[in-house]
Symmetry: D4
Subunit: 224 residues, 8 copies
């Protein structure tokens, strides 16, 4: 008993919840990724790939690899063209330190793939509070603010106490000692006294992007 | 060295983030609550009180207690009149079992206080999946679906895989063994494969309501 | 004081509990595995080896390696011939995502080694619920359904609420953040509201197969 | 906004998975339990209630309370008549110490409610191994052995190494220090070297009973 | 074998480390506390008692109880007269919410007992950041700032990023869900990006006071 | 199905491992304890009872209660006469603070029951190190030193670095914050750099006594 | 500011507690180990080295390496001659599976270094209980039995229920899922119902050997 | 969407809290570090770099690397000249074992960078208590004592019980089993009975240095 098994792509996802199935590459072989890319290209469909490290990216079939818009920092790749629309509804991504950028960019790239214009404000952690306060007026005009922070994760609570939009916290697995693996950043965000702050899993930049998309899709539909 | 200290109410909260400071009663004495109620009545302001158990409610000053709309299940009280507006943007609250209702109602009352019309669908846990599936068409039309579930917390992931709106999970501290204190329900929601699901702290029905309000406020402003 | 020590194989295991001692290769040297294979071949006995990674497999003695039916995905090897019997009692293995297949196949190979015919249904996680629901009628006819799922581990509870057979959950150590190491998938399965769901250790595909065998053996004996 | 909400009983459960919805009383008010009992009596249906402590039992409506067969140790009550059938397939419940009996009896009562004849062997923990060994021959003839043990939870692994039937471990929240809340007993059972041992949540005597019922139902159907 | 045992007071503590042995009442009987009070009064020594709840206080010998300066909020009592000295070195205590006051006052009373003048600024949590920022200039002049905060514990990191003095964080066991028992507030403080923040055990208001005393004692000695 | 079940006393324990089965009262009803006492008295056997709180003790049958030597601090009772033998092999019990005495006395009473002469040295915690150092010469002559300490559990490592006898650490569930439930004291003892320190479960004063007895029994036999 | 620092060897350890300082190599550089070996050789002292992996061993100075009796399995090395004495007091080491041998041999080598004759009985885990029972009579004659077991750690509790000598449990970091890192084996041993079982840290084979030495030293002294 | 983002250095840190922004290199690329070094050199500013492992150091631009005073043990580098001032206020660093030196030196180098004269006393762990006691008189004269210890972390509590200065504990991630990752050393320090001990995150040698600097800065200002 040896052999292969078939994947069961979730073909109706876009129709059900408003976005395509994304390829999470961390648990997949190069062959599987090649196969999925080929299928998408034959069907003339665009595709977002996440957690595609540069080693695995360089192993992809040369022809397929060339079609991809690859971003090493966020370990994401995009197949197909993207058109970014300016929108009344605006999204900002705010990060604490330079180690959080890899996750912040996963969010940025996810929103970019769906044509959402994003404002990125990085390296404004609370240890030097003035850096954040300089941007507060701009952030108060945003529909959605996504905070990306590791270590003790103070940023989301401070932001959510200052801006009226939806604030989504992405805890990041940076730090050492009690901060290792992102658990402290996660719990800080969940326990925040600032009302109405919502949270996604540690390092889940993609998930935060999708949550923003759900809200943007609802708002677009509601204006139709 | 004995004596009293002053509270520092967050007077500008409504202006900053769109809603009033709510009185979280769990850590307060009856005297403190009476004082805050009196101040609000003198200023002719409305007020939402959460985690006000029936014992503490009955100890409040009789005159003040009579002004309150008290709901025992959710342990919330409302001072002042409420006008519910019908809106194009709709919110549903979905709960798993009968033990989750106390938290689901905290969310419902929070939204009611801010005049939001809410659809409540309770006791439709995944162990009898047909109960949820019967409501899916209705849920697919909602702008926001708030799931409230304890034990293993399967509900939010299943809902988020079926509806396009923003899905907010409130884990609940029900259950025993590994489910005790809500940690399993919390982690299940955070780790869900359904993209774009967001999460608040265990038992934080109030926080889920506030997150929905943030989104509704943004959407209302964007249509002005 | 240097030197070797003797292993004490559990020779009466088959007679006591109905199946042979399996070689768990993760903690063993190539020499130890070679020795055990040689003993089995001399005694003309069949043997199942688990957690035999491809590196260690390629280091085995060439002659012995050739006698093995090796499956890279599940990291299992089988010495000796296998005859699969069709049976009134049927077993299905259902997995959530493509990362769960390595564990699902460990179960499949364990049952295959004991001649049990298995139905494998992979990549039908709850994020796209329709994929599972398409198979429900087939699953309702099974005597045993083994679910294999990581991340938030929603699959076993949904399945156990829909089918009457024995449902055995194998949590899988896939995922990141709060899902890392499989603890969330494990606790979700243990805390499930669906009555009568049973659980084995994280990644213990072999153990789930053995549990199914215990039940099949009892049922076969009861019909003699 | 005050008022009541409706429960959504899982009416098709018996037809789907072979047993009725049981009333888990821990999270319910006396009024809710009275209402459910009345409905069952009007429909002439039998009913199993679990986690009904003696205080809550004595508060039930006198008329309804009298119809119940109540067992204080297991905190279970049964409405309706029960007929126990002798069966070729036999089930044993084995417990470690006297503190485990409350959980062991929850399993026994669950199986009794469904007419299953059960052999109860209590207080045979591994600290005095001879007590268990005296019963091994009898246990080797059982189709299913359910072990119920707290503290370090050695019992299930020892039993599963000695008998061929399906062995289901119920960890119990007894003990102090590192054993508090049953986590050590749970992990011991999950990590056992004895192959094919399956586990349910801590204190989930009811769940172990349901798992046994799933297997018995399959076996009965397979002989029809 | 029954009978009593003797306590071994740490008589040389003041001489070794600069302050007396304090009576931690949580683990002591009323008799033991009475005995210790009597000894101190006979020796004409002053005494600080912590964790003396009002129930236990009212059970103390009437004569002894009358000699005590008891503060119910902080559950502390002081035997003997206290003289507060104005000092160039100043200490502030800053707390997040009203539930943190019981711990903040334990610190305040400890410092009061040793004659230290303290500035108390309560209820200035980060959810309404302006409340804290209004006090920053004052806090920047302090030698020591002690922050007392539960929930997500954002306060110490924000303060330590804004003031040059020694900042000591006291995490508090307030909150629910992931914040329960103070673990999140503790880890937030330990993982803070603001350099040079130090931390004491959860609820250890007394310990923070003693740390401040160590620093004050050193500074006083250094000016002699 | 209601009724009683039989206990299975471990009658051969004394012969197997050198001491009687002790009655752990925490999980037993007054009736069960009465029954066991009566059996022991009829058989003219002595008996040790642990975790017998004063409430339960006062509920025991008056006649039986009067036969017991009860010690409230350690919550132990002894039925039968005890003869303490002076021995060349000496045992000391050393405790950190006054809250540890209840556990230290459980050890002392266990050894007393078996006729072992014990030296008790209490309240000599490491915060005032001189208290311990005063006793070091005496402790260096002991065959066994049992340390009983909660909070951070520094005592066993310091003692084991200073004395040549067997050192047994009993962690105690005293303290608050990170020390709550005794986990820190337990881990400190296990991780100690002092070689040859052994540890029992949190609060297991009885177990430490039994370990000492095992060693004393071996030593006595070896001299016969 | 660069440069070296001096180590402070614990020169009086042998005189204080009866054995030399051992070199724990895991945290040391090859240079440090070479230096310590050279010092010992010049002083004509013997030395035990633990956690010396084969890579680091091969990097030691050739001349020094040749003087060592190195054992790869246990990662221990001995400098100097060893004379094993037969003794009335006997020690056995019992291990569960083949992965536990590396730790069991660390204990064996530690005792060998101090001239203690040891009986090693390996691979007799509880999954095949007969293997252990075959050795029980022999084990009942031992003064000390050291059990070495990972996974669920059933072995120590079963042994301690059957033999009268001192039983020391060494939990081992083998296993996967909930058993990973040895925590389950540790907690099982600590929570065991078998009275008088003592425990050392996970993988601390050296510590168990030292504990046995403390007891043997006491016994030898007591016979002088 | 690809490209670069700007860092936002905390330029006013020195003025706000008294010391510069340090470069934590663990999360940065060689390019980022080169850029920051170049900026500092152009501005003629000094710079402290931490967590710069030797691999990354050797990859720095040759010209820049040569300007650095690099210390491999502590993985720190210093750009610019340092002048150490003798001061009435003295700081000591005390470490337990040789594995703690890497962290102790991070503290020492941080203080050296700010011109603070430091006394380093290493390898004086509590297992051989005399080593510490030999230094106590010297330590009693210090203004600040920083203890650096892994494993069970006994050192800070013993020191804080013996000296009057401020004692800062740095737990270290050394050890195995329950000590792994430094959690036991951290909790031991937090739970210590010695009053006024303060703690920083595991391995945070830099943070302990900064805390000392805060105190020294206050003391220097207070004498101006």
């Amino acid at each position: 008993m040896n052999g292969d098994w078939d994947l069961t792509p979730d073909a109706s996802r876009k129709q059900r919840i408003g976005f395509d199935e994304t390829i999470f590459c961390a648990g997949k072989t190069t062959d599987q990724i090649n196969r999925l890319l080929r299928l998408a290209r034959e069907a003339n469909e665009s595709l977002l790939l996440t957690r595609l490290d540069s080693g695995k990216f360089s192993e992809l079939s040369g022809e397929l690899g060339k079609c991809l818009d690859y971003d090493e920092v966020s370990q994401t790749a995009i197949l197909g063209d993207v058109t970014v629309r300016k929108d009344k509804l605006r999204v900002a991504i705010v990060s604490g330190g330079s180690s959080d950028v890899r996750v912040a960019r996963e969010t940025a790239r996810t929103l970019f793939y769906y044509g959402v214009d994003v404002r990125e404000i990085y390296d404004v952690g609370v240890a030097g509070l003035w850096r954040l306060l300089e941007h507060i007026e701009e952030l108060r005009d945003m529909s959605i603010v996504i905070t990306v922070a590791g270590m003790e994760g103070t940023l989301p609570g401070v932001v959510a106490g200052l801006v009226p939009g939806l604030v989504i916290a992405v805890p990041v697995a940076t730090g050492y000692g009690v901060a290792v693996n992102g658990g402290t950043a996660l719990n800080s965000a969940l326990a925040s006294c600032s009302p109405g702050l919502v949270v996604v899993n540690i390092d889940n930049g993609y998930g935060a992007g999708c949550a923003a998309l759900r809200m943007l899709n609802v708002m677009r539909r509601s204006r139709e």
